[in-house]
């Protein structure tokens, strides 16, 4: 199978590989996929105010899955949480020229962003009981 140049670039030089401290209250962690399906993505964000100031990922999966999650971290860094939530998997498909059999990789990357943001939001509610109760 021929990979697009952009997939190869992200695979060979993945952006933002690594982990953030998942115990930190400003960090949201999303883990999606399953080993039996051949794809697991972990995507983390660090939020300051409503802006994503840092993003990291680790992915078990094919080259397209690695590229999709690498691209996702690149895109959400510097965006507000709401802007990040509006990223659609089809934009990832387009940017990386993913073939039909690899569309699920982009879906997983979108899910990973949403899952990380949900985790972050849940933490804010738990960590600010006064706010939550008012």
């Amino acid at each position: 199978m021929a990979y697009s140049d952009k997939v190869l670039d992200h695979y060979n030089n993945p952006r933002n590989v690594g982990s953030l401290d998942k115990g930190k209250e400003t960090v949201g962690t999303g883990v999606v996929g399953a080993p039996e399906c051949g794809d697991v993505m972990k995507l983390q964000i660090e939020v300051d105010g409503d802006r994503i100031v840092d993003a990291k990922f680790k992915t078990f999966g094919c080259g397209s899955a690695i590229a999709s999650s690498s691209l996702a971290t690149e895109w959400i860094k510097g965006k507000t949480v709401d802007e990040a939530l509006s990223i659609n998997n089809t934009e990832i498909v387009e940017e990386l020229s993913l073939p039909p059999v690899k569309i699920h990789c982009s879906v997983l990357a979108e899910d990973a962003i949403k899952s990380a943001i949900n985790d972050y939001k849940a933490k804010q509610q738990v960590d600010s009981p006064e706010e939550a109760s008012t």
């Binding site: 695979y11 996929g33 078990f60």
Partner: protein, 405 residues
């Protein structure tokens, strides 16, 4: 050393230069149709075909008259299974095979199921072997055929064909074996091993693509087949169609070389495989051998690199041509049915790679390939959230992933 390095000898092999040399005259000056009885052109072709029949028969312990030429193993498998099933349907309509067979066998059996045959798909052991006991337990009064692969094409596991052959002969059931990967790699003797039908293919043993054959036993018992290709009645009526004389010459020469060099090839490829595995296991943890450590082809190594997905690994080893056990490279996202039949978890099946070594593989190539695999696995594990969990003392296998789809 030329790059990329070819380590996919179970997929196909290069034509041995000695085989090519034997074939060449039969494309040009000796072009006759082997079925032309009326002139010297035809006689020359027929002589070449007869010589090839002897060479092939000699490799597998058969008589030359028992060889039926086909386009390859897939056709031979179709002819053997459908041909026997249709011929012996009045005796019974039950077939025994295994879940770890090649798709050519499985799909042919599925076709027959639609025609009213019943098929038992035996589960192999975790190392991929079908036991003689499981075959014995599956045989019925109406069983007309047992079809089992000699050496598995994905993991290289060898089935106990001789024991199964004895059992089948005692019980009066025909045994067909797909010896595509076994012929020329391990000793195959249809007389000693009690095999009634056997297929092989030239391009797996340093011959050309597009030519193979089916061995059909002529006595004790005499096996009869319903032809699947009708026409001029070639190959004793079992397979019509003008013989591919250059291909047949190539198959014959490839068999003769493989017979003469079987021991040398076995020692050579076995040493390379052990060298490769030695380097891999010394440098990496969490690597699993798929298949049978004892009963396996000398030239095949199927390994699962836990926490690294197979397709991404193949992408990371640009200089090495290998196949992934995960079928992600095809349109299907299903992992290998062979590994699944062995009870290998889908996570490990997605992490498997098949390495095949051959007559022309060198130590230098093996070392380079192993180093590249080791570097790619290390790099991808740095990227792997599963490997990170393991480093933190969390077992990814103990996590319920079902909510994460």
């Amino acid at each position: 050393m030329d790059l990329p390095i070819y380590l996919d000898y179970q997929a196909t092999t290069p034509v041995d230069p000695r085989v090519l040399e034997a074939m060449l005259p039969y494309f040009s000056e000796r072009f006759g149709n082997a079925a032309s009885r009326s002139h010297a052109f035809g006689w020359t072709g027929e002589e070449a075909v007869d010589r090839a029949r002897k060479q092939i028969a000699s490799l597998i312990g058969a008589s030359p008259k028992e060889i039926v030429f086909t386009s390859g193993s897939t056709e031979a498998i179709n002819l053997a299974i459908k041909g026997v099933a249709e011929m012996y349907a009045s005796k019974g309509k039950h077939i025994v095979t295994s879940q770890a067979e090649h798709k050519a066998v499985l799909d042919t059996c599925k076709h027959l199921e639609k025609q009213g045959f019943e098929v038992t798909y035996l589960a192999p052991s975790p190392t991929g072997r079908v036991s003689v006991e499981s075959v014995a337990a599956a045989l019925r009064e109406d069983t007309c055929l047992v079809a089992l692969i000699w050496a598995n094409n994905e993991i290289g596991t060898l089935n106990p064909i001789r024991e199964i052959g004895e059992l089948c002969h005692e019980r009066g059931v025909l045994l067909f074996t797909d010896a595509t990967q076994a012929a020329g790699k391990v000793e195959v003797d249809v007389a000693r091993d009690g095999v009634d039908l056997l297929c092989l293919s030239a391009h797996k043993l340093y011959g050309p693509k597009g030519i193979g054959c089916l061995y059909v036993r002529r006595r004790n018992p005499r096996v009869r087949l319903v032809a699947q290709m009708d026409g001029g009645g070639h190959e004793r009526g079992m397979r019509s169609g003008t013989l591919n004389v250059p291909g047949i010459v190539g198959l014959g020469e490839a068999c003769a070389l493989s017979q003469r060099e079987l021991e040398a090839d076995r020692v050579h490829t076995g040493a390379l495989r052990d060298r490769f595995e030695g380097r891999i296991f010394a440098a990496l943890d969490h690597v699993h051998l798929n298949g049978d450590p004892e009963h396996r082809l000398p030239n095949c190594s199927n390994l699962s690199f836990n926490f690294v997905e197979g397709e991404s690994l193949i992408m990371g080893v640009n200089d090495v041509a290998v196949s992934s056990g995960s079928a992600c490279t095809s349109a299907s996202l299903e992992p290998s049915h062979v590994l699944r039949a062995c009870g290998v978890g889908d996570d490990l099946a997605h992490s498997s790679i098949r390495f095949g070594f051959g007559r022309f593989t060198t130590e230098e190539e093996v070392d380079h390939a192993a180093d590249e695999v080791i570097a790619a696995v290390k790099r991808l594990r740095e990227l792997s959230p599963l490997y990170e969990m393991v480093q933190e003392g969390i077992d990814p296998g103990a996590i319920d992933w079902s909510g994460n789809h």
